[in-house]
């Protein structure tokens, strides 16, 4: 608040010195940006303050583990890393299958700090990478929006993005996931594209390719960029906005960008082979054709040009037809038409649920509900249409890009919840434009309506308040950018004469557009109220909804906060009390955490690259005990880990995920049939459940001795009594159960000695003579013994 004061103090002496005011505007917006960055960082620290500085969720644990490896072994080892602790016995080539952007970023930060003798742990760096990059992302948003609609809109959009809940949900401290850096890379790439488009500078075009490279390194969502930009280029060409700037903005990006993208091992030849990239090459060709046509048009007389057109069209068509025919043949030869499963489910939202249950089973791949829009972008949903309208008046190259961006991302976010994240920056940008433009209109009308000011506007404008001064300052700038963008398509020679007229005209028009004083004051207040509501919602979302690390759960009861730290209890137990090379089987959700926290080999993990392997585990979980034991034994598994929420009411446990195991297992092994587990199409675990369900391994491992806790076996998640209450395990033994029973670990019993000719008797014998004999002797109370 110091800056406005000094400006008011300075004004009477120096009067309205425009340059000085611009300088103040610059300093002011610099400080505003700095504060926005601080806010973006600090609003994401709720998770550290309320919980602890710890990595969240599932995927971040994998990224953390990879970063640890990188920090310990260096970059070359990292590229060649074959991880034998996951996907046993297949293993996984981490260096070639991971998007390295995030890990390399955090690894570099860690290395830099350590070489400055600031010994932070890898974990600390990983935890704070996301907040740091969200500050960067808000600055990138400022730059992008500034290119489109001027500084005011830029600042507003940056402030909105800094706290948009959708982005917070993926970038709180500890949420060390690809998206954390990818959103920054996405926005920054878009900014550089727009900047190149506005300036036509090759320097920015090169930077753009590098930013695109960073994006490719960071996230699979880079395909969004490489499809959206060609779409925009095509739009520009179709609407007759072709210019050399467009060419410079696009051609180097495709050439350099594709070359660089192919350097990333996980992308490799996909950068030229898959259909996701096809659009960019098609547009690249079209752009060249158009550029060639323009060139020919310039050097030939109109008559000759007509001749040339007919010639080129006839030859060109033939060539194009041939090329396209070859391409179609190539594409059609692949079963998925060259598209990856996730991309196909974007184009056809029903695709995944029909063919790939493993994609459909992930909750973040489901389509979002309406409340989640309100939760994630809040009031921006109402501001977006206004922002789109503002983008149309006047429509420039850059503003058409924003319109296209929001239109496509709305669609994508409607298909997958996860892509809400791509939609959020677009919503922030358009809302920022809408807010700043409306502020602009209202403050200007107030200024012109206030009595006694109209004679010397500028003095009063500066004196009234910092807000209006800033708004006016912004107004000046937006006006400028509007004019320049307006004039850009015209030729340079005309520029000078043209520029003066619109400026005076625009001023005159603006005066006519002034709204009545009271209505503009009221609307201004309402807008501020709206903004305040947004801020309150965002802070609430950051503090309450999105800061839970999900490995530590808390519940508030009348006697204070209760902490459920069962996951780490179980992983800690595995880490210290099992052999280093023991294999642990669990559903794939817990694979990353098991490898990272327990340091044990897992069968499947969250990188769901091998459907058959996952189906094997799914089959084992849905088979009866003996069959399951055989499957697990054939995989060298020693421990089986299940997550069970029935005692404390933790809803996302394995029983609730069980149908997906059945579906995925049944997809590969047809003897597992989903209807066997459903009673009249209903999934239930009470006494009405099917015998297949009650005898499957997952049921048994989850509810083993559960009935003893309350005598009835009441499951607090499903809100029923369980169907089969008293049973023994023959092939597994309980070795560890956490404090709240949320994680239960079983050990596979060693195979029994075969006793010839006594197969029938041996059953009863072993059960009484084995180690469990003692337990059954001591536990006489147990009703089933």
């Amino acid at each position: 608040m110091a800056a406005p004061e000094t400006s008011t103090a300075a004004v009477p002496t120096l009067y309205t010195n425009n340059t000085l005011r611009n300088a103040f505007g610059g300093v002011l917006s610099f400080f505003i940006l700095l504060l926005i960055g601080v806010m973006a960082f600090s609003i994401r620290l709720f998770s550290v303050i309320k919980y602890e500085s710890v990595i969240h969720e599932f995927d971040p644990y994998f990224n953390y583990r990879v970063t640890q490896f990188l920090a310990k072994n260096g970059i070359y080892e990292f590229w060649n890393w074959f991880d034998d602790r996951t996907w046993y016995p297949l293993g996984r080539v981490i260096g070639g299958t991971v998007y390295p952007g995030l890990t390399l970023t955090a690894g570099t930060i860690w290395w830099l700090l350590n070489s400055l003798n600031i010994p932070l742990s890898v974990e600390t760096v990983c935890v704070f990478t996301a907040p740091i990059f969200s500050a960067f992302a808000s600055w990138a948003t400022f730059l992008l929006t500034k290119e489109v609609k001027g500084t005011g809109a830029g600042l507003t959009a940056a402030a909105l993005l800094a706290m948009v809940p959708s982005y917070i949900s993926r970038s709180v401290a500890g949420s060390y996931d690809n998206e954390a850096v990818a959103i920054f890379a996405l926005i920054f790439t878009f900014y550089l594209y727009i900047k190149t488009l506005n300036t036509g500078s090759l320097f920015y075009a090169t930077l753009n390719s590098i930013a695109y490279f960073y994006m490719v390194c960071s996230w699979g969502g880079y395909t969004f960029i490489i499809n959206l930009i060609p779409m925009h280029v095509l739009l520009c060409i179709v609407t007759g906005r072709f210019s050399s700037r467009l060419y410079i903005a696009y051609a180097p990006l495709v050439v350099l960008g594709t070359l660089l993208a192919a350097l990333v091992p996980v992308v490799g030849f996909n950068a030229v082979m898959t259909s996701e990239h096809f659009a960019s090459f098609l547009v690249f060709i079209i752009l060249h054709v158009v550029a060639f046509v323009y060139y020919i048009k310039g050097i030939l007389s109109p008559k000759m040009f007509k001749v040339a057109v007919t010639l080129v069209v006839s030859v060109g068509l033939a060539v194009c037809c041939a090329v396209i025919a070859v391409l179609i043949a190539l594409v059609a030869s692949s079963p998925t038409k060259g598209w990856s499963g996730r991309s196909l489910s974007l184009l056809d939202p029903t695709y995944a649920s029909k063919y790939i249950p493993i994609i459909a089973s992930v909750s973040e791949h489901q389509p979002p509900t309406w409340p989640s829009y309100f939760m994630d972008i809040n009031v921006l949903a109402f501001l977006v249409p206004a922002g789109i309208i503002a983008c149309f008046s006047p429509l420039s190259d850059s503003s058409s890009f924003v319109v296209l961006y929001i239109a496509t991302s709305v669609y994508f976010s409607g298909v997958m919840v996860r892509l809400m994240l791509v939609f959020a920056p677009a919503a922030c940008i358009t809302s920022g434009i809408a807010l700043s433009q409306s502020f602009d209109v209202f403050t200007r009308s107030i200024k012109f309506q206030l009595p006694g000011i109209s004679s010397n506007t500028e003095v009063d404008a500066a004196e009234t308040s910092s807000a209006t001064a800033e708004a006016q300052n912004d107004a000046v700038k937006t006006e400028k950018s509007e004019e320049t963008s307006k004039n850009r398509p015209s030729k340079k020679s005309k520029k000078k004469e043209k520029e003066e007229k619109p400026s005076t005209k625009a001023k005159a028009e603006k005066r006519l557009l002034a709204l009545p004083l009271d209505s503009s004051v009221i609307s201004l207040l309402l807008l501020i109220l709206l903004g305040a509501f947004y801020v309150v919602h965002c802070v609430w979302a950051a503090a309450e909804a999105y800061s839970a690390p999900s490995i530590v759960l808390t519940s508030r009861s009348h006697d204070g906060l209760h902490v459920f730290d069962d996951f780490r209890e179980a992983y800690g137990w595995l880490r210290h009390n099992t052999d280093v090379d023991d294999k642990v089987a669990s559903w794939w959700d817990y694979g990353y955490q098991t490898t990272a926290m327990a340091n044990r080999t897992v069968i499947v993990d969250n990188n769901t690259w091998n459907n058959t392997h996952i189906a094997t585990v799914g089959t084992a979980m849905s088979s009866p005990e003996k069959a399951a034991w055989e499957i697990f034994h054939s995989l060298d598994v020693k421990y089986v880990l299940v997550v069970f929420g029935g005692l404390v009411g933790y809803p996302s446990d394995d029983i609730n995920k069980f149908l997906w195991m059945v579906r995925i297992g049944g997809g590969v092994f047809p003897h597992i049939k989903e209807p066997d587990y459903l009673r009249d199409g209903q999934y239930r675990i009470d006494s009405q459940a099917t015998p297949t369900m009650l005898n499957c391994l997952m049921y048994k491992l989850s509810y083993y001795r559960f009935v003893e806790t309350d005598g009835k076996g009441f499951d607090r998640v499903r809100q029923t009594e369980i169907g089969k209450k008293h049973f023994k395990l023959t092939h597994f033994e309980e070795v560890f159960t956490t404090h709240h029973w949320m994680v239960r670990i079983y050990k596979l019993k060693p195979p029994k000695n075969r006793i010839r000719g006594k197969t029938k008797k041996s059953k009863s014998k072993t059960s009484s003579t084995s180690s469990r004999g003692k337990r059954s002797g001591s536990g006489k109370k147990n009703p089933w013994q």
Partner: protein, 596 residues
């Protein structure tokens, strides 16, 4: 509680008694030495059989005068290990130096305290969750001595009266948990007779396989202690199932030997205490603070059953002035050696004392033999690294919780090194920024674009000046307007005229200032584009100036003639319109030039 954990074996050898404890085990021997021979005796040999000597963790001997107060003057005596060639190699000898020589016929009483670790062996070695832990202790009923023993008795104190079996000799008495042997008289040297005790013990066998204590001294007022524990339950290994249900419902007979918490007695004024492991904070801990001590109760993530392991870290800060002292130019740290956890046996204890960077003349002193060496550690913003004194000791028991000292020299000025480094670092960054902003980084100084850019910068400076002048002119106009307003309020014509006069003078000066600016602007070729605008601006401004003057003089004239306000207004109105229009134009032009 603490006492009941220990197995006390009290030996008494003809008024000589001995005691032992352990993990494990503690022995206390009370010996009465009599010198029968003709020689003067200055030291006493203590012998331990091989079975015990490898478990011996701690040994002290103290004396009190045979006559006089038995408790008042307890002096601990120096002990050293000795190798005797002519003695059986199966025994280890320690010699205790007596405070005064004992002449023939005189007697002397000696208290020997020996602590053994890992002397209790769980039998059976594996138990299920429902079983009770039984342990076996072996010793000799006769105290191993290189001397002839006149009288000896032994009493063994067990933690519990549930004794599975013990060696019965003719003179054995059992009182609850205490078993007494003896007295035996006139035993020859090195007499041995093994005895075993097999008894129930559900005491937690908490053993730290490795404990690394890092004590970091900051002269800014903090001693940071970080302790990394690798813990194991050293009792009977658990086998078979672990049922949480049983453990929760009947903790006393299902997993009775498990321990689920440990207590650490931290020094008073310990602050920012934390308890975590590799995968994050462990939420199950309680800190009770009062003025004398801080008590930290920690629970491992899971209950520790027999053979289970865990690892964790606790850390806390301590106020520097409580632990660091200065003597002459030396400083020394005075801290306890062992772990703050009570009832913990430590197999390997490594204490690292990290001294501030720039310390010199480092030495360490401990009351018992210890392995020590030095390292360097690079920490926050260090250049050369901080010297670290490393002390290592195996088989550490709570009796080792004695003070040790680390002496070093450190100049207070070195404290300022890191802040100064930071300040200079930032200074350098800012200076580099300033330098970069002022430096000309273009490669070719003669290229057209470079020259054009330079020229353009000069033009901009000139335009800036022009704008400045114009703005001042406009300010003058406003002054005149203000004076007119004053006039209409007060009717003070003279003041108004004075204002006019000064304004005239100033405006003239300004127009003089303007002239050279315009001519120099014309000299620049790159100013060609903007020049017409500037000239237009100047012209418009002059026009405006004239109009304002005219208005002013008309108004003043009107007042002098005492014409009605309405009349003046009427006359001025037309001018006012023009002025407003001109002002607008000037504003627009200024804006336009500004935008370029």
């Amino acid at each position: 509680m603490a006492i009941s954990r220990y197995v006390l074996l009290v030996f008494t050898i003809a008024m000589l008694a001995s005691t032992a404890i352990s993990d494990p085990i503690l022995t206390k021997v009370n010996r009465h030495v009599e010198n029968p021979g003709p020689l003067i005796m200055s030291e006493v040999l203590l012998a331990f059989p091989e079975l015990q000597s490898k478990n011996l963790a701690y040994l002290t001997a103290s004396s009190h005068e045979t006559k006089g107060k038995p408790k008042g003057s307890v002096v601990s005596l120096p002990i050293k290990a000795v190798n005797l060639d002519d003695r059986p190699s199966a025994a280890t000898f320690y010699s205790v130096l007596l405070p005064k020589e004992v002449a023939a016929g005189e007697s002397f009483t000696l208290d020997v305290l020996a602590v053994f670790t890992h002397a209790l062996r769980p039998v059976p070695e594996q138990i299920t969750q429902a079983d009770i832990q039984l342990v076996l202790y072996r010793d000799s009923v006769y105290y191993l001595s290189p001397y002839e023993v006149k009288v000896q008795s032994l009493s063994v104190k067990l933690p519990d009266s549930k004794i599975e079996s013990y060696t019965k000799l003719e003179s054995t008495k059992v009182h609850g948990s205490e078993i007494k042997y003896g007295p035996y008289e006139n035993l020859p040297p090195f007499s041995l007779s093994p005895i075993t005790f097999h008894f129930e013990s559900n005491l937690p066998f908490a053993v730290a396989q490795e404990l690394v204590r890092e004590i970091e001294i900051s002269h800014w007022g903090n001693v940071q202690v970080t302790e990394h524990y690798k813990l194991i339950h050293g009792g009977a290994k658990s086998k078979g199932e672990f049922s949480r249900r049983d453990f929760q419902a009947r903790p006393n007979d299902r997993g009775a030997s498990a321990f689920s918490f440990l207590v650490a007695h931290l020094p008073a004024r310990a602050r920012s205490v934390y308890y975590r492991d590799l995968i994050g904070n462990i939420s199950t801990s309680h800190l009770r603070v009062d003025s004398r001590k801080s008590e930290l109760v920690i629970e491992p993530r899971y209950p520790m059953l027999g053979g289970w392991k865990t690892a964790f870290t606790i850390g806390y800060g301590l106020p520097l002035q409580d632990f660091l002292y200065e003597s002459e130019e030396n400083r020394f740290l005075n801290m306890t050696f062992g772990s703050p956890m009570i009832e913990l046996v430590i197999d390997t204890l490594i204490v690292k004392v990290v001294l501030p960077e720039g310390s010199s003349g480092i030495s360490a002193a401990a009351p018992f033999p210890i392995k020590q060496w030095q390292e360097t550690k690079i920490s926050h913003l260090d250049i050369g690294g901080r010297p670290v004194v490393v002390l290592e000791k195996t088989n550490v028991v709570p009796e080792h919780n004695q003070y040790f000292q680390v002496y070093y020299k450190f100049s207070g000025l070195s404290m300022l090194r890191e802040p100064l480094m930071l300040i200079s670092g930032f200074l350098f960054v800012f200076a580099a920024c300033i330098g970069y902003m002022h430096a000309d980084t273009s490669i070719s100084k003669s290229s057209a674009s470079y020259l054009a850019k330079q020229q353009w910068e000069e033009v901009q400076v000139l335009i800036q000046k022009v704008q400045n002048v114009i703005n001042r002119c406009l300010a003058m106009h406003d002054n005149l307007e203000a004076s007119l307003r004053d006039l209409s309020r007060t009717g003070d014509v003279q003041a108004c005229k004075a204002a006019r006069k000064s304004a005239d003078g100033l405006l003239k000066e300004l127009s003089k200032e303007m002239k050279p600016l315009l001519t120099s602007l014309q000299a620049y070729s790159s100013a060609a584009q903007i020049l017409p605008k500037v000239e237009e601006l100047v012209a418009k401004e002059r026009e405006l100036q004239e109009k304002v003057m005219l208005k002013h003089s008309t108004a003043v004239e009107g007042y002098e003639r005492k014409s009605g306000a309405r009349d003046i207004d009427h006359r001025v109105a037309l001018l006012q319109q023009k002025i407003t229009a001109l002002k607008q134009e000037v504003d627009d032009l200024l804006q336009f030039i500004d935008d370029i």
